[in-house]
Symmetry: D2
Subunit: 438 residues, 4 copies
């Protein structure tokens, strides 16, 4: 087995929609300017470390040995981690994406103590810093894995044991500081084990309070060290726990309001998490935008027939146009970006499959964004939507917005014989219209 | 067809678990005292008007004529409404429940103008007031139907047309004032059309703001008229709209916080709405209790294999014990109660089927409550739960609660070698233990 | 209200992808030849009577009065039915589709007896026959409504009461004979109430036997009258009943085999029924093709977040390409076609909304078919698929196909040290490749 | 870590419903006679090897190291397997169940070649044979794991590579022969990888044919070696593949009919597989019984809010009564039994949790069976069900069963004015009635 598994793969270039080259971009023209910025600046795409370099193709249900053969799946842990890092940056470079993302325990192995774990992380991230310098690849976000180790089985911040809380706090401190040092644009908290398996042994209110306190401490530390990136929470409804506290954007909003953190924390929205929560992805984006929480995107897709997080690469650009439109309406992602929290299917054993997965995924995002941008600029949807609400600029609308009471409104209804007539919402026309742009 | 369809049915009595009488209660012994109150005081059960007296057994999907033959489904609207009311109170009395609930348009027909509609409602509710007086039956809650009439097809408070908002405000004013006059314990808002069908024509943020403004006006009016009942919002995730703004309890909490109403409004939780939102019912109860929003219950059940609101009578008491336990842990429902938002299956054509549906449903609630009360009093679950979190009374736990920073906790972890060990959550033992009480 | 609500709408023409005319086809170029036939011959698209002319925009859950105002929703039943028919053919003509479909009770009202109902149907279908003659519009299929009337609440063929079975048989006889007389290409049976609400009162085996007997009688009658169209069963998993016997294609196949009808009956596959059954639509198509049952299509789409049959017009052509590819691989639909079992959203009140819904739906079908045809002709997917199974042409493959026993195969494995290696399925490459054609 | 982790646990005894001993049975009184047989003879309960002794508490989604510490998770593979076996029989004995079940690769490790794997299996199963002899514990079924090893990633019988088919055949031969030798009552095939991930690279028809051929070879081998146990297929809709060919009972029936195997093979029904397929468990049982396929049960439960196979121990006896009733109506399970394909939650780390999980599960099964038996014997449900279909004994019913044509039935309807009236299905009464027995 060669030590550098991507060494024979080409550097991926944009060749345009007519290209038949499976290892070229057909839509992701990084430097193409649209709506005043390049595509790369709009999308800020990133490769995630976990799915691409750590997952071995195991069946989540039957477990068993890894299917994928990668040289860093064996050997001394630290050396393997360094080899993995070298391969990762090789992959990033060949793919040509501007960002990467990491979990601490994906980058470096766990040691016997936290001190040892920190030292292992330091060793690998020092090397990563040099590689970032050399390659120009930037960090979209870092995060700490607070869910895989047995100590976190009953939660990290929400664990019944305060020692686990303390351990998690110390681990986040280190990961956050490294994210800061590597110039990360964001820091993510995914509460993988922040939830419950059964209410029979759970004090929900206490656990929520613990979680609020933990998040406040993370925010305080961010300010203390001068980190200017955004703190992001990643909503997910269930899996791995039966019920996760960060269920969806609306739940996270209420949580942040409860603990006074709504101006400090935003959301990292994952497509497949939205659909598992019973929402369309565009719903989650629109909700986050309306509530001022739109942070970043974990780009992937689920399978409509499966009830778990399949983390597939996006491949249907038509389906993504409404969400891209909501992002554009919201003014874009700011410091956020689009991380491919996506993995090839387990039968896609070969390194080249990973490259093709990312190429197809990024082309899908780019194409969807280009369609949405053109649709937005045309005003074809914006105008009828504005007209639909035009009544609120009228005298009655303004009176209501000024706080008209039930009494005042009832008097008006009776006096003026207010008898509103329904007006077509023209959904089919708008859907057809969207299809003019895809 | 006889005018009084329940006239031949008996007055339902409690006969105990060994009774073979299908028209007797086997578990609902209204005057039995447990946890310091009677069962009737704990459950505060109510019959809903809509499902029991207005629904004609239509197939929701194939529509068509009513299956059920009731004399009040025909004839002059006001006379029919009065006949329906007489039958309803006859049913309440035979069933022996302490409460009823109503929607304005179920009780009385819609007129040509709101003034006419109000007058029709007045006529029927004057009669209802006398019947309540005579029978001693009380009002658990009233509400306005802001979803069936074509004018509300695109929402009431969240309609793109402010005239609809005004009409809804005037309608709620009248329903709320009648609820007050009838001594209603609560007033409910179910946002049946407060949601959207497509984001392509929807301004989510604007609609949420409209909704917040509307709710604030309702709360202001409540205080103005001196109504001391609780204002309740009823969460539901979708149906009839694609996405309803009152998705679930956590969403409603964030909404109330956003508009400063979290101390003014509580939730009316429906079992089947919880399950459609992807939650267990006990989750919704526990969440509402943790967030201070637990108001009232719409008691029914869904069908685990069906994706819509089937509104069936509860019949599995074991499944309800965890939710009843959460209600007991929260100190009960206060002014709330348990309204049967449940209907017989459409093949259950006969008036006697309705009586049996309510008997079985109430027996299920009563049995579940009795089991939960005994379980709670035994301490069998409460004690291990308290022990599970006992660490938070220790020095580390208290330091964290006092606001320990990431730095302080990291120092402690390194200095003391904090290395927490996972401890069994004993879920199977707790589940078996619960089964000792059912 | 004008009697002819579509009279002001234009005759829809194909104007090509660049057209901005919302009332023109952009992809459905009926006479365009691809894979040896015109698009119209491949798709054989049809308008369904029910959703388009009979549904009044009622909320399935809140019921209430119709939202849509159509002149045929009032007045004397037979005259209204004739007016509806006139409007329907006006709509067909303006839209320019080659086929229509009907349920007997949508076309004409129910009479006091079956004889009367038959006479009413005769009156309307005589008129329809003339309109078909005049317009050249053909009948894709006819069917009998065996689910809306109260008599069918517990099933038609599977009813516990044999009188209902007899009534259903008589009703089907008349509808089938009319379908024959109108030159229908197929006759459909949708078992809307052939299922159960609860097993507690159901004899599953008996009901399946009744259903098999009924279907055999229908097939016998078809042959007796010389009808050469195809008898189609329409799978659906649930709704309106809790569990429908025609759950999905695989279930229907087993049912047909059990009663020896697998060579007599095919399936009419509906997109949204497939997704409600937990299958992708392309799965149902591929399964029907593999089992020799592919008959016809009810073209629509569901909403991925909703658990009921939303019957929306298709609008994402990318999503439909895999199913179109399976249809092409299977050699097309033969006598079947693509009926729009789709309806506008209820807020789409106006007649023009219906036209736009059909235009967008048909453009989506046409575009998906054109993409799939090009993909198929390119061989880009067909070739790697053939290669993936190439081993079965080898010696071992042929030996297995010739019936090698476990003993023989075990001996070979041990003797030859058979140790197969996994080979990438290249899913991402194939998905990207498909995207080159959309 | 002690080598014998269950050594301190007691031998579990039946102590009756009033026992407070968490390590005693409260309902499973093995020797209690009901409906003519002992409870043990009715239920034939079994412990499964996989979940109880092989699964390490890994999170299916976050993977990572095992949570559970068991001495056989380390050390030399064969010795570890023998230690695992010793512990397993110790567990069986303490629990007191009459049966066990195994997968070949759970019992013994995989070797470098199939010959080696066979030898390893021989070594462990020789020991198992002695332990069975000593303990009196019998084998409910054996099976081969054709899904975990990388070679099976694209299926076993349905693999595109015939060498994999051959390997699977050889592996099944050995497992089937050992099952025969150990006196197994059944042999199970679970097609864990018999399905597809994407239709883009799949020839569905070919794969079904391969699968049919494989199953025929297994049946032939069974007869050749004189095995008199039942061959069972275990339906599952998806997971691990996107779509499994053995989707549900109805699908398996069609498959068996297609390949002429419906009299040779039955189904092993798993509760959680039924619910994942969109069916109630009682539906699957009733369907299997109606189609003559009822074989054996994998007893567990799913979580109604989760979309994957959670394999929890049953704990709600009320929910299981309808399925138990269907089993009783069908005359019982014959050679089948009830295998606990269930695992403790991953936070339940300790060996005692496993014992309590099994105790609670078995008590739930026993209680449900006892309730169903009493209900059945009472005739309380059987009688109204028979009456509901009584019309089929009448003249019209018999004429239909004798094959009345549509013409004959239509003539009768018109001549006799057949106008059937709907009759209440009394669902609520029957549900209440069931509750009298729980």
């Amino acid at each position: 087995m060669t030590a550098h598994v991507y060494a024979d793969l080409p550097f991926v270039r944009y060749e345009g929609p007519d290209s038949h080259n499976p290892l070229a971009f057909r839509w992701y023209d990084a430097q193409r300017v649209v709506l005043g910025k390049t595509l790369a600046e709009h999308l800020r795409p990133a490769v995630c470390y976990w799915h691409t370099f750590c997952w071995g193709g195991q069946d989540p249900f039957a477990l068993g040995d890894p299917l994928f053969q990668r040289p860093w799946f064996q050997g001394a842990p630290l050396a393997a981690a360094q080899l993995k890092l070298d391969n990762a940056f090789d992959f990033f470079t060949r793919l040509g994406l501007p960002f990467w993302c990491f979990h601490d325990r994906d980058v470096a192995p766990e040691g016997a103590t936290l001190r040892e774990s920190n030292a292992l992380l330091d060793a690998v991230l020092e090397r990563a810093a040099r590689k970032m310098q050399d390659s120009g690849i930037q960090l979209l976000w870092g995060t700490a894995n607070l869910f895989s180790h047995p100590r976190y089985m009953s939660g990290a911040a929400t664990n019944p044991d305060p020692a686990v809380y303390a351990h998690a706090a110390a681990q986040v401190k280190h990961a956050l500081e490294w994210t800061h040092r590597l110039g990360g644009a964001n820091y993510v908290l995914w509460g993988g084990r922040e939830g419950y398996e059964t209410l029979l042994n759970t004090d929900l209110k206490r656990e929520l309070d613990q979680y609020g306190r933990f998040l406040a401490a993370v925010v305080a530390h961010k300010h203390k060290i001068g980190f200017t990136g955004t703190i992001l929470i990643e909503p997910k409804p269930q899996e791995p726990t039966k019920h996760q506290y960060d269920y969806d954007t609306a739940t996270v909003y209420g949580f942040l309001k409860r603990y006074g953190l709504e101006n400090e924390v935003k959301v990292n929205l994952e497509v497949n998490h939205a659909t598992l929560a019973g929402h369309s992805f565009e719903h989650e984006v629109a909700t986050a935008a309306a509530l001022g929480l739109l942070g970043s995107i974990d780009a992937n897709r689920g399978d409509e027939q499966l009830g778990w997080d399949t983390d597939q690469f996006p491949h249907n650009h038509v389906q993504l146009v409404p969400a891209m439109l909501e992002i554009i309406r919201a003014g874009g992602l700011g410091q956020g970006g689009m991380n491919f929290d996506a993995k090839v299917r387990r039968q896609s054993l070969d390194p080249i499959d990973q490259l093709e997965g990312h190429i197809g995924g990024l082309d899908t995002l780019a194409r969807a964004f280009l369609c949405a941008a053109e649709l937005y600029e045309s005003g074809a949807l914006e105008q009828p939507r504005a007209e639909r609400y035009a009544g609120w600029q009228g005298e009655l609308g303004l009176a209501i917005e000024a706080g008209a009471s039930l009494d005042a409104l009832a008097e008006r209804v009776h006096a003026q014989g207010v008898a509103p007539q329904p007006r077509s919402g023209r959904q089919e026309r708008l859907e057809n219209l969207l299809n003019r742009f895809v």
